[in-house]
């Protein structure tokens, strides 16, 4: 079939699906090699036991649980941001939502695998289903992560249907796959109405699920007696941290693919400025929670709690702790509150700093509490092994690879939503504005404009 007859103004959004450069293959091969190496290291660990890691007693949880919390946190980029932006009818959301939702889908698979990697007996994973104890926070987690994955993949898929239909109509490679996935969508009024209804229901549903998922992950720690973990603030603290790291990851991904696929016309600076403002708000919220958490610990001054506190503030983990504060608070505030520094480069720097900072935050929450047991045992030492480091690298590589793969099958920016926006949103926004504004003169001004 000749594709040219379908050339439309948003052709550039389809281009990555049909044209693949050499750079893409080179990068994909490099990433696949990293993933493969991680896989080999995991098989080694599977055969020889968890002794291949750097974990020990008392630090019985390490990189894997850190990555688990971190990646599930990143997943909040998608659903929450896209759902909230949709819900608040923010018009600038249109080119962003799809990427955000894809992040969620990929990262949830990667994050969800980490607790299994961490198991001493992954062959017994089905025990969770056969004889799981619902009283254990770990089972809540198992339930909530799988529910979240189900909800967010449907939430990714439903708004994708009209785009798949567009791809199906263009024919070419994979058109059979598109035909199945498009579910006979032809853009009729009735179908469109049903689609929009489904999106509306899903976006409302997905917000409480997303909030609950990270709350429950924090409860793995909050429900224990460990000093530094047993805190009521953990639920909201983790949710805030998750959204924070999610926005940062979203910005990085958007900038990268904007450059790679020349999407400057769709992802304009204004989008990044708005997201940057959101990031700034989350940074302040994060600082508020961190401050509240540690100040109450300090004033309570319980000896076991203080042992962990000192370990973080002035002890072995002080460099990491203060680096986290720099990455998560100082850099974002400096870069994002200053007009001169809030450029594309500044926003990218901040986002990278935040992602690193949030990873460090998970490290600082998990390891020091375990390293300093309640009884006066010597402080534990945790040094990650090559296995753990290569699996972290593999997880990051798998994320990029997954995203690249997705971009070769489906458009990274929701084409139909862009078209709809172009067609209808000016009218819609005008109508909406007229509703807000006091009647009389102003109406005229807008209509004239």
């Amino acid at each position: 079939m000749d594709n040219h007859q379908y050339l439309d103004e948003d052709e550039i959004l389809f281009r990555p699906i049909y044209k693949t450069g050499k750079g893409f293959y080179a990068l994909a091969c490099a990433l696949a090699a990293i993933v493969l190496f991680g896989l080999i290291m995991y098989i080694r660990q599977f055969v020889f036991g968890l002794g291949e890691t750097g974990m020990n007693e008392p630090v019985s949880w390490g990189f894997y649980i850190i990555s688990f919390v971190f990646f599930i946190g990143i997943s909040h980029a998608g659903t929450l941001i896209s759902a909230i932006l949709r819900l608040s009818k923010a018009e600038w959301r249109r080119p962003i939502t799809r990427m955000a939702e894809v992040i969620t889908g990929i990262v949830l698979i990667i994050g969800g695998l980490h607790p299994i990697i961490d198991l001493g007996r992954p062959d017994r994973i089905l025990h969770l289903v056969e004889r799981g104890r619902l009283q254990s926070p770990l089972l809540w987690d198992f339930t909530s992560v799988s529910a979240y994955f189900t909800a967010s993949s449907i939430y990714l898929y439903i708004p994708l249907i009209p785009d798949i239909a567009l791809l199906r109509d263009r024919g070419g490679r994979f058109h059979k796959l598109y035909k199945i996935l498009a579910w006979g969508y032809d853009g009729s009024e009735k179908q469109k109405h049903a689609l929009e209804r489904a999106i509306n229901i899903l976006m409302v549903m997905v917000i409480p699920i997303a909030v609950s998922v990270h709350t429950i992950i924090s409860w793995i720690f909050g429900m224990t007696l460990q000093p530094g973990w047993h805190s009521t603030i953990f639920g909201p603290y983790f949710v805030v941290g998750a959204i924070y790291s999610g926005i940062a990851a979203l910005i990085i991904v958007m900038i990268a693919f904007r450059k790679a696929y020349h999407l400057e016309n769709y992802l304009k600076e204004i989008h990044f400025k708005y997201l940057g403002t959101l990031l700034m708000v989350m940074s302040l919220l994060w600082f508020y929670f961190t401050f509240a958490e540690y100040l109450t610990t300090f004033y309570g001054h319980e000896p076991p709690e203080m042992r962990v506190f000192d370990y973080k503030f002035v002890g072995s983990y002080a460099p990491w702790f203060w680096l986290m504060v720099v990455c998560n608070f100082i850099i974002p505030v400096v870069f994002l509150s200053n007009k001169k520094l809030k450029t594309m480069g500044g926003i990218l720097t901040t986002s990278i700093a935040v992602v690193i900072g949030m990873w460090l935050e998970r490290l600082i929450i998990i390891v020091p509490s375990l390293a300093n047991p309640r009884l006066p045992y010597p402080t534990g030492i945790y040094v990650p092994s090559l296995t753990e480091i290569s699996l972290l690298a593999a997880a990051i590589a798998a994320f990029i690879l997954g995203f690249m793969g997705f971009s070769k099958l489906f458009p990274l920016i929701s084409v139909w939503e862009i078209k709809e926006g172009r067609k209808e949103s000016v009218k819609e926004v005008t109508e909406r504005l007229n509703e807000y504004l006091p009647t009389s003169k102003h109406v005229k001004v807008i209509e004239e404009a």
Binding site: G49, E57, G120, S136, M223, P373, L375, Y377
Partner: protein, 229 residues
Amino acid sequence: MPRYGMVIDLNKCNNCEACVTACKLENNVQIVSKENAEMGRAMFWIKMLIKNYSGNYPDIRSESLPVSCMQCDEPSCIKVCPVRATYKRDDGIVAQIYPQCIGCRYCMANCPYTAKVFNWFKDEQPVENEKTYNPDVSVRPKGVVEKCTFCIHRLQKAKEQAKAEHRKIREEDYQPACAEVCPSHAIYFGDLDDPSSKVSKVMRDYRKFTLQEELGTKPKVYYLSAMTE
């Protein structure tokens, strides 16, 4: 139903670590390599917790106490186990089911006494150790959590013995290895609910305390504090 418990008299304990050694041999606890032990993977079901050193070398006195699983009446490890691989028996012993454990190590993270140990590797002992293996205790596979069981296999044996002899189980029939071996008789073991048992008698001492009482885990391992001059 009895409620088994232990009392350790710190006045009598001289930190000889005979209990530690006896426990390792009795329960086939893995002896790990030197490198792994240095990494903090040495496995003990009962170990010496050194609270303080005093004096100058070579006249050093260590203030320490043997710590095993506290066999809590309100165990925090059981609460978090996702697969019921650890549970409390009717006689109060907190037991482990090794074939059920998925090795998530959540119980280890939630034990305020750091009493649980994990099998980081497959149990591979030198050939010479074969002679010391206790056939009554199963060797744990890699990837599961284990801990002190109050030598539960000895209880099983004692019960069967008593049944065969048509009598009730006596206190001296069932003593865990650490209590049996202690050269200064610092460890008492028996039924806490039986007022005539030796443990309940020594427990009626004003020196009695448990570790981290404030957490409400209700340990069944009691200590009698050491008297100082």
